[in-house]
């Protein structure tokens, strides 16, 4: 899959700044402060296709617009799912939406996870916190096309057991014989009997062949920096490590400059980057 924007908006003949109305079909509470919105198009509208890793600009009418990663299944074009944390005015308003309410959607934007480049390789997915949301479509894709991949391993870290995202789904994945799922928390609380420690400590448990492994990583930037170091220590090349960067996207089409990261616009050139293409600016404080 080429690392370019999908152009779905343009190919549909819709201007890049025009929102399309979607209806809320379900609001699902994931953790105390995160939730998922399942939306569908109004009858008669075009099919909404996206690739794993892409994001949309979601507009709460009269409140504002924010970029949110798509967290649903790319093979189910009839349902568009986003997962986010309730942290500001727009996402707070989004959390209050009810089934049947309407939301404006622009997108999909950005570069996808390299799920096709990964064919024939082992794949290790490393997610931290809400970083699992933009990786979930890639996991759906990998599992839907399972025979094209070697080993598939998911390593997921959360702050506490209560903050584990998509808990039921993780249990389903853990029960599969064709993928390995390891979960850890930074701080154990309550009756938690699972792993304790940061997500990087799980990397040594991934039974992959490092020279023939592609890694997809998403989480807080500091977590991704440590994850890169650990993956390299295990023998992965940085050309086989992909990251999803988060910046303050506004226009979504590389015009406004809000999400500029060095010479790149995260909304257009990212959010998914190959590690060797981004690492020189990755930890620079000025950016």
């Amino acid at each position: 899959m080429a690392q370019t924007s999908s152009g779905t908006h343009e190919t549909a003949g819709i201007g890049p700044m025009v929102t399309e109305p979607f209806t809320i079909r379900r609001v699902r509470k994931e953790t105390a402060d995160t939730f998922s919105l399942e939306m569908q198009k109004l009858p008669g509208e075009r099919e909404f296709l996206f690739r794993p890793g892409q994001f949309n600009m979601l507009y709460v009418y009269g409140v504002g617009e924010v970029p949110i990663s798509i967290s649903g299944d790319p093979s189910r074009a009839e349902i568009l799912t986003h997962t986010t944390r309730e942290v500001g005015a727009v996402t707070r308003a989004m959390r209050r939406l009810k089934v049947g309410d309407t939301l404006g959607v622009r997108g999909p934007y950005g570069t996808p996870w390299p799920v096709q480049e990964a064919e024939g390789s082992d794949v290790v997915v490393v997610a931290g916190g809400i970083g699992l949301a933009p990786l979930r479509p890639a996991i759906y894709y990998l599992l839907a096309n399972r025979r094209h991949y070697g080993k598939v391993v998911l390593l997921y870290g959360a702050r506490t057991p209560e903050e584990i995202l998509f808990r039921r789904q993780l249990e389903q994945w853990r029960s599969r014989f064709d993928m390995e799922t390891h979960i850890t928390v930074d701080r154990a609380t309550g009756p938690w009997q699972g792993n304790v420690g940061v997500v990087t400590t799980l990397i040594s448990r991934a039974p992959v062949d490092p020279p023939n492994t592609l890694a997809m990583v998403c989480g807080p930037e500091i977590m991704m920096r440590f994850t890169i170091l650990e993956l390299e220590r295990r023998g992965l090349n940085d050309r086989n490590i992909y990251l999803s960067m988060e910046r303050n996207m506004k226009c979504g089409i590389g015009l406004c400059g809000h999400c500029q990261l060095g010479p790149r616009f995260v909304c257009k050139d990212g959010p998914v980057y190959r590690c060797d293409q981004i690492r020189e600016v990755f930890s620079r404080r000025e950016l």
Binding site: T84, V90, G129, Q193, G197, V198, P220, F226
Partner: protein, 154 residues
């Protein structure tokens, strides 16, 4: 003994050691089993060993008054844990407890220190490996302290 040598020789932590060096380590090794809930070691006790977990799970924890037990880290199959045997005054800094039935190889710390003093080449190899373990723990602890799963502002 031959079986212990084979197990140690196949462990990634000891990769690169000569067969003679593995044989020396095996002379300090023994099989141990811990039931679920049993302490592997307790804070303040003499640190006389380190462990290769063969099967099972151990958690490193401490007790904080008014707060109870705080789990710091868990360890699973094939992982190495325990490095207080290398650092004077050779006492455990935390508790370690088996979460489930755990089988491990224990390497006697005093035995190994004596052998490393007598054979500095072996000692250097062991030190290099434990330096990696300690660096990994330090890095993980720093990341844990950063509490990285913070909030944005949208």
């Amino acid at each position: 003994m031959e079986n212990l040598e084979r197990i140690l020789g196949e462990h990634p932590f000891l990769k690169g050691l000569s067969q003679d060096q593995i044989a020396v380590l095996a002379g300090c090794a023994s099989n141990v089993v811990f039931k679920a809930g049993e302490f592997v070691f307790r804070e303040g006790e003499p640190a006389n060993a380190f462990f290769f977990i063969r099967q099972g799970k151990v958690q490193v924890e401490t007790h904080i008054p008014q707060k109870g037990t705080v789990i710091i880290r868990s360890r699973r199959d094939d992982e190495v844990f325990g490095w207080s045997w290398l650092v004077p005054p050779y006492r455990w800094h935390f508790d370690a407890r088996a979460v489930e039935l755990t089988r491990a190889l224990a390497l006697d710390g005093e035995c190994l220190r004596t052998k490393c003093e007598a054979d500095h080449a072996l000692g250097y190899e062991i030190m290099k490996r434990f330096l990696m373990v300690i660096a990994e723990r330090l890095e993980a602890t720093r990341l844990q302290l950063m509490d990285v799963y913070g909030h944005g502002s949208n």
